[in-house]
């Protein structure tokens, strides 16, 4: 457990309030810098700085920021700052003035979007949630107002917005020196083991410190007891507690040893379009126009699709402009990546689709006929945007590449073609088993395995999606990075959520 001395500053002076009451102020002298420096010398590694002027007047003054800047240059201690932060800009000012973390309280309840935004923009290590409790209710606005939220719900809320550290003050004990609320801390650690817990309020003796440590606190903020000399910091640190838990790292740091990747297995609905309309029967109700690819795309997007694939099966000259227009409308409507394929015969075809808003283009027959097309597209438009679609059928012990929607047998070996496609710059392979396509009998895991053995780029499994187990097998046995399906989604056999939950149950990471 880390001991964190606290300094409360009001109008430039170090003070201590009793139970948050501005009428009961003890003035410990003028110089926050001197007190901080004494704490650092005594061995403190972290300082809790409270801007009482800010908390009182609901704003952040230039004087306080100036003090913070001076503290920053005068000490190596980590500094966490609370009080009076009401906006993202306030948080940024305090961090820029030298704070390592900010402590937010009222904002958590009155402007949760800002609190969430703060975690996203500044990082979870920089934000500490202050939960000031009386009984079981969290108080806000300098303890004056009830939030109507219980401590348990508040802990869940802060965890949900990505915060990992909470500072819990029992306000009936703060500044009273009557001992810490160990039962409270024990309960929090039991119910929320993922949260780092900083205790505060009521410490006056070394026994109190020990009680906090034994209750599971990761840190303990001590104010008055140190200021008044009831507790001596160096002695407190010395008495500590080496057998008790120390502060765990707040998050993964770059360069630490390898941990499993959370790269999600992607679940991709495929929409076949002909002259701008979805073809293949669609079983959905509640769509204004079941044949409108944009409507369907939005629906899949809402349901949690990770990506979409549009295959233009008409691919006549006239339909190209219809397709480009469709791509534009899809790009306006969805907030996930999508790939467009079918009839891409040149770099210009591919460019037109990307410029219209597609994230990737899939090339199939034209690349088989002219493999250098793949290299050209990859060079001009980037490997990551270039998908090679391979349609394969098993013949004897090997797989043969088909083109023109399966109508033409090229005699080419599919595994060899996959290898060449990657060498030419394809960033991803979309592998369809023609034996399985439309059968619902499961993906050709053997084909997938063989291809995954020879390439080091992502492979999307396609053709044969049927039972949930068959989908899990494509990933488990076939080592596919993504699975693509049409009918099972269109006809509502399974939702995207069903598929993802099945994958999750099989221990694969999914975006849920």
């Amino acid at each position: 457990m880390q001991i964190i001395p606290a300094i409360d500053v009001l109008e430039g002076k170090v003070v201590r309030l009793q139970q948050g009451d501005f009428d009961r102020v003890t003035d410990y002298g003028n110089d926050p810098l001197k007190i901080a420096s004494a704490y650092a010398t005594a061995g403190a590694k972290r300082l809790h700085l409270v801007n009482l002027s800010g908390a009182k007047d609901q704003n952040l003054s230039g004087n306080f920021l100036e003090l913070l800047r001076e503290l920053r240059v005068s000490t190596d201690m980590k500094i966490q700052v609370g009080g009076g932060m009401r906006s993202l800009k306030d948080i940024q000012s305090v961090l820029d003035a030298g704070a390592d973390a900010v402590v937010i309280g009222t904002m958590l309840f009155e402007n949760q979007e800002a609190a969430r935004a703060a975690v996203t923009l500044f990082g979870a290590d920089r934000i500490i949630a202050a939960l000031d409790v009386e009984g079981d209710e969290v108080k806000i606005r300098g303890w004056k107002t009830g939030s109507g939220v219980t401590l348990g719900d508040a802990c869940r809320q802060v965890q949900d917005i990505g915060i990992r550290q909470i500072l819990v003050t029992d306000i009936t004990r703060d500044g009273m020196g009557e001992g810490v609320n160990a039962a409270l801390y024990r309960r929090i650690k039991k119910n929320f083991p993922g949260l780092q817990l900083l205790g505060s309020g009521g410490v006056s003796t070394v026994e109190d410190v020990r009680a906090a440590a034994e209750s599971g606190c990761d840190g303990l903020v001590i104010g008055k007891a140190l200021l008044s000399g009831t507790l001596i910091l160096s002695e407190t640190l010395a008495s500590d507690l080496s057998s008790l838990p120390t502060e765990a790292p707040a998050g993964a740091k770059v360069g630490q040893p390898s941990l499993p990747s959370y790269l999600a297995v992607r679940v991709i609905p495929c929409l076949d379009v002909d002259d701008g309309r979805v073809v293949k029967g669609i079983g959905f109700q509640n769509l204004r126009d079941a044949g409108d690819p944009v409507e369907l795309a939005k629906r899949y997007c809402r349901e949690g699709a990770d990506e979409l694939v549009f295959l233009d099966i008409s691919a006549t000259h006239r339909s190209r402009s219809t397709l480009v227009d469709l791509v534009r409308r899809v790009a306006d409507a969805v907030n996930i990546p999508f790939t467009v394929g079918g009839g891409v015969r040149s770099v210009d075809d591919a460019r037109a689709l990307l410029c219209a808003g597609a994230d990737k283009v899939a090339v199939n027959s034209a690349a088989v006929q002219n493999p250098s097309l793949l290299s050209e597209i990859a060079n001009e438009l980037g490997s990551a945007n270039t998908v090679c679609a391979i349609d394969a059928r098993k013949v004897g012990d090997s797989w043969i590449v088909l083109t023109r929607g399966g109508r033409e047998n090229t005699g080419m070996d599919a595994i060899a073609w996959a290898t060449e496609a990657v060498e030419r710059g394809a960033g991803e392979l979309l592998v369809t088993s023609f034996d399985r396509d439309g059968t619902g009998e499961g993906f050709d895991t053997e084909l997938l395995t063989q291809i995954k053995q020879v390439v080091r780029i992502p492979v999307i499994a396609s053709g044969g999606a049927g039972s949930l187990q068959s989908i899990v097998d494509a990933v488990k046995v076939g080592k596919a990075d993504a699975i693509l399906a049409a009918s099972i989604f269109h006809f509502g056999t399974f939702s995207i959520g069903d598929v993802k939950r099945a994958l999750q149950q099989a221990s694969f990471p999914v975006r849920l």
Binding site: E113, L121, A124, G162, V254, L263, D332
Partner: protein, 191 residues
């Protein structure tokens, strides 16, 4: 977000495709202005710097347009996406490119032992899944600028901040809810 607040700029450079970023902000009702020259920068409340193409071509284009100094001295919230974040650093191994040098550190190739590019949805240390497509990673000299990480072989830098300069390695414009939330957060900061 109301339409009276000044727009957020999107920097167009290197003939890059800024369409998806533009569309994402439009979907979220965030007013946008496309920026191509330094003098347009005073009209915006913040600036988004999308990733487009390769590092060396992008830097060449910024130089030719006279944008380098304007970016370095930009005072309002600035957000680099993917390559846009990488260019904030001193140097990139991609094409041996000297970059903007706003953040200290290097941009290196992803190691051999992972599939390159890192493509797909990965879980951010700050919560939520984000969409990544990249082969190079940022290695800041000061780990304190890292705002979020993601596991890919080892923890890699997924977001940075130094003063008003923010960057993410992923694509908020393509990252569903997590992306929308991030862009709205940035817009809130710009207000």
């Amino acid at each position: 977000m109301n339409s009276v607040s000044p727009p957020i700029g999107i920097l167009r450079y290197n003939a890059g495709n800024i369409g998806s970023v533009q569309r994402a902000l439009a979907r979220l009702d965030i007013p946008v202005q496309v920026i191509e020259t330094p003098d347009q920068l005073q009209d915006v409340s913040g600036l988004i710097f999308p990733g487009a193409g390769a590092a060396n071509a992008a830097m060449r284009d910024l130089r030719e347009r006279g944008l380098i100094e304007s970016i370095r001295s930009f005072q309002k919230p600035f957000l680099g996406l993917c390559l846009g974040m990488q260019l904030l650093f001193d140097f990139s191994e991609e094409g041996t490119t000297e970059c903007l040098g706003i953040l200290k550190g290097k941009v290196k190739s992803l190691p051999e032992n992972v599939i390159r590019p890192h493509m797909g949805w990965n879980r951010l240390s700050t919560g939520g899944y984000a969409y990544f497509v990249h082969s190079y990673i940022c290695e800041p000299d000061d780990p304190g600028v890292i705002t979020q990480t993601v596991q890919y072989g080892s923890p890699i830098c997924a977001g940075v901040r130094q003063k008003n300069f923010f960057g993410v390695q992923w694509h908020p414009e393509k990252s569903a809810e997590a992306g929308d939330q991030f862009l709205l957060s940035f817009a809130q900061l710009c207000k």
